[in-house]
Symmetry: C2
Subunit: 347 residues, 2 copies
């Protein structure tokens, strides 16, 4: 059906060896023949079979993404879609395929083992690292190139990662709320087994204590960042004896939930209650229109992170053995109509 190397070489009166070399840019072939081969290949729309190529070279020309789905909740984080979209562009232009495995988080280790063992991929992206992340040691041991989207609690220089400065982002957000006169700030964090959530919490607490405020543990929450979580938590907080005057949420979905609770109780964000949310700049769940956000936010594009992580991984694969590089993205602090002064505001 499709022309293969042998046929192409016959049609040119050359050996497969020469044609292969010409196409792959080896120097042992004259510039003139190379041109002739390239032109013929293009005309015949020849594309090497990736399987054969992979078998011969040992490379897979594919990158693996193993997405853990919580086995209990079966929840798939929508940030994956945008992350993959960013990464996908990079792979495509580098000629790599993206292979996806959605596995229960109990089977991740086995999945990485299988991928590495069969050289099904040339590298992987590690998603959603937990605080104590066993996959990193596993991958280092396996010798499979990888980039982590996020960090975990170990020496920064030990492994390659791309991350948003979550600690700083939430520290800054908290500082802003404090400056506006808010002392009782509820943190609706993500699942704190995840590293990013731990860092956000740390940033939040740092800002509180830097301002001399005592932290109130009853204002700290963590869970999967759904709308219902935001609603229920905010609702019960706002109806409590000592409600917070400001909210800090880890995702737009949760912020939506907080607003629903506030609205039901006749409270207005940006009037009675202040809110800052983290905003992953998802294409579908955008925070208002560009330039006109709905919520004040710490924004960091997860699509950009995907692009960077993929580029870093391509680089690692191309230059094995080099020291791990890392990439920290700073979140943008976005103003929005969900801000308002708090009770301790000094005008």
């Amino acid at each position: 059906m499709t022309m293969n190397l042998k046929q192409l070489s016959e049609s040119l009166g050359l050996s497969p060896t020469t044609v292969s070399r010409a196409l792959n840019g080896y120097p042992e072939v004259s510039e003139q023949t190379r041109l002739r081969v390239m032109r013929a290949a293009r005309d015949a729309d020849y594309r090497p079979d990736p399987r054969a190529k992979g078998l011969a070279t040992g490379r897979a020309l594919a990158i693996g993404h193993v997405l853990p789905t919580s086995v209990r909740t079966e929840i798939v984080n929508p940030v994956f879609a945008d992350f993959l979209s960013g990464a996908g562009d990079v792979y495509a232009s580098a000629g790599y395929d993206m292979i996806l495995r959605m596995v229960a988080n109990t089977e991740e280790e086995a999945t990485y083992d299988a991928l590495a063992k069969r050289r099904a991929v040339d590298g992987v992206i590690v998603h959603a690292p937990r605080v104590d992340e066993p996959r990193i040691d596993q991958l280092l041991r396996l010798g499979l190139p990888f980039v982590v989207h996020g960090q975990c609690q170990r020496a920064q220089e030990d492994y390659p990662w791309v991350d948003t400065n979550n600690r700083r982002a939430f520290e800054a957000a908290t500082e802003r709320l404090i400056a506006l006169g808010h002392h009782r700030i509820a943190l609706l964090n993500g699942d704190e087994r995840m590293d990013f959530a731990r860092r956000r919490r740390a940033g939040h607490l740092d800002a509180l204590s830097a301002a001399g405020l005592t932290q109130d543990d009853s204002l700290l929450f963590n869970a999967e960042m759904t709308e219902a979580y935001g609603y229920e938590t905010a609702r019960s907080l706002l109806e409590s004896a000592a409600p917070p005057t400001a909210f800090l949420t880890s995702a737009l979905t949760t912020a939506f939930g907080v607003r629903r609770a506030a609205d039901e109780l006749g409270l207005r964000l940006g009037e009675h209650i202040a809110l800052i949310t983290h905003d992953d700049d998802l294409s579908y769940l955008s925070n208002g229109r560009p330039g006109a956000p709905v919520f004040a936010a710490t924004r960091s594009s997860v699509r950009a992170a995907g692009r960077l992580a993929a580029e870093l991984l391509m680089d690692i694969i191309a230059h094995p053995g080099s020291a791990p590089r890392t990439h920290m993205l700073e979140a943008e602090q976005l103003d929005g109509p969900s801000l308002c002064p708090g009770p301790h505001h000094a005008p």
Copy 2:
């Protein structure tokens, strides 16, 4: 590094032929030898190299998903994540890989050509079919097995698809609103170049005319289903001279936007305004808690659709040449607190 077939066969004192046949269930090998081989393979944790296997058999053991990303908006629909999660389970248990391509919608055709030509995949899932969907003809022509998630405007029996009964769902939703006494219903539909949106609109209009109501074109909208779209549309409608009394939205995100607009204007969903939304039952963006929805909805799990589509595709690949099968899912009509009687309500 990893044991291969040759080594395994040597360690057993058998030929690669016999071992291969034993492992793949061919009858030309005695049950006793087969057992011996299977046990040895398991003990040695042997897994055949998928590239070599693919090269030899011509099969790819992979399914392709080509996700179009609007080249203008770069928007990735979050339903993909849940759909893929449903499909992924099926692939995994069938031993198939899932390969993903995110391409600008201008390059879809070329992508399918490339996938088919290089036999990189054994089949594909077509996402987000448009009303007039050229990809279906292309795939039929290429002879590449496929299943469409959704339908398009052509004979139903021509090609395999899995779809939600969008027409019926929106017809029923509209009937409910009419029964509640709503005559001015705004439809905030998805992009009507997409087939699903066209069907939803048709269902809506059918119900209107069945009730003898004249359709008001100024209440029909279509766009990508973002929160901002819901907000802006609802806001301008509600501030207009003849506002609608009910909304029908195509996605939860859009419904969130409608609620924001209503709240800002001091109107309450389920009190002053009724709303029914379509609900894809996304894991992350759920409509309240199970049993306690926030919005009345037409619900159809996109994850279930993914599972069904994948199963259908596996079946098509296993039994080529059989007549196209299809699968229509009926949406569940969900009651919720966003419903209220309209001005024409007869008590």
